[in-house]
Amino acid sequence: MSTARTFATARRVLLQLRHDPRTIALMLLVPCVLETLLRLIYARHRATFDQAGAPLLAFFPLTTVFLVTSIALLRERVTGTLERLLTSPLGRLELLGGYALSFGLLAAVQATIVCALTLGPLGLRVQGPVALLVVLAVCVALLGTGLGLLASAFARTEFQVVQFFPLIILPQLLLCGLLVARQRLPGALHAISDALPLSYAVDGMHHLSRQVGAAGAVAADTAIVLAFAAGALILGAVTLRRQTN
């Protein structure tokens, strides 16, 4: 594994984004707009905002990074750059590492901005350390990279890859404990929810927003999310076949 090639790839992905400022603006601003909207919806129910606002901070990086990664990789497949990279000394894990690094960085920026807005002007109340919130968001972004990579392996066109969003991400949102607390889900659904990574990210956010001194519990949730991210990245590397028809 060469860090030079991984960094070169991360730099290239970020340069591509830099030439597309509208995408960057959308990635950074849309979560802010949505948190503001949530705050306005619950203008008279501050407690509900506290409950829903924090978990959403974990959901944004998953959405953004999943979509960007899956489409970026699909484009590499369609335009032939991926085939070319696979004939170069660049290893598959180095390529994926480059993607994870660049989008992880972007997610950190996104999380910092959204957290600053949500905890500042919007007045979301959390008990745990704010830094952990950002760390958890970055781990969720790595998960998004891994899942996006996997989705792109099963899609041939942009139309197909976008359809993986409702398939892979939305069920996680429904079952993560945002709508109904996970303990109150019917048995089978609770079991499914236990197997989905977003559940642990949202658990972590809940701990941060409700409990004083929950750092240990949050760290455990973060570790689980990270393990899922690593699993998805490795599976993604496996699905990245050198030989195609």
Binding site: R11, R12, T79, E83, R84, L86, T87, P89, R242, T244
Partner: protein, 251 residues
């Protein structure tokens, strides 16, 4: 020249003995795509330090043959040996420059950014590749804003970085003006002179005159492998299109 086997040898003779300077060697290679044989029973080799042209009509299997050498083609039966190694092995990937048929570069990066990235993953410097493909004046333009021919040359430049020992160029001159085409063929000759092995595909038979040796491919089979001079001599015409027709009709 050992590689200039006669047509009879290519059709029913025994396979050639391996040569020391073989860059790539095919032994009884067949490639199937979607249940159809795209390449059939290919026995061929080409040497380093030379420009080998791969000619044939669209659909004759040129790209498939190149992809088999690059190690990205599935369904390959038989043995392909590249620089003494297996296609796709790390040793081959370090030595290979591969230009795909459609320009495979990043449209949302500038020319320089593209070349820098491909140089970085090969652990090389940019060097003089932009001068060699005559793109210095466009160095800071986004590839998205370039013409088709210019994009093809960006793609070529990214294949040339790091002085690869083996260059696989899939239709690098298509759509370019005659002056530029001539210059590129000169460049290919220079690169061969510097010791690289080049396999350059084209469907314009007239370009065969720029090659040290040509492989003629039709319907997934090798029709002949010989020098352009021999092709003219054997078929009694300088018109390379006509020579190709005579070769096929004689079979």
């Amino acid at each position: 020249m050992t590689a200039c086997a006669s047509i009879a040898e290519w059709t029913d003779g025994p396979a050639e003995a391996p040569r020391a300077d073989d860059a790539v060697r095919f032994d009884r290679v067949t490639v199937e795509r979607g249940g159809r044989a795209v390449l059939r029973d290919i026995d061929a080799s080409f040497a380093t330090g030379r420009v080998t042209g791969l000619f044939g009509p669209s659909g004759s299997g040129k790209s498939t043959l190149i992809r088999a050498i690059a190690g990205v083609q599935s369904g390959v039966r038989g043995t392909v040996t590249v620089l003494g190694e297996r296609p796709g092995s790390i040793a081959v990937r370090r030595a290979l420059g591969y230009m795909t048929q459609s320009p495979s570069v990043y449209e949302d990066l500038t020319v320089t950014e593209n070349v820098r990235y491909f140089a970085a993953i090969r652990g090389a410097e940019m060097g003089d590749v932009l001068e060699r493909v005559q793109l210095c004046t466009h160095a800071n333009q986004l590839v998205r804003n370039l013409s088709g021919g210019q994009r093809a040359r960006v793609s070529l430049a990214t294949a040339l970085v790091g002085r690869p020992r083996l260059l696989l160029l899939d239709e690098p001159t298509v759509g370019l003006d005659p002056l530029l085409r001539r210059d590129l063929w000169r460049l290919f000759g220079d690169l061969a002179g510097e010791g690289a092995a080049l396999l350059v595909s084209s469907h314009v038979l007239d370009e065969a005159r720029h090659c040290d040796e040509v492989i003629l491919l039709r319907e997934g089979r090798i029709v002949a492998q010989l020098s352009p001079e021999e092709l003219s001599a054997r078929t009694g015409t300088d018109d390379l299109d006509e020579a190709f027709i005579r070769l096929i009709e004689r079979r």
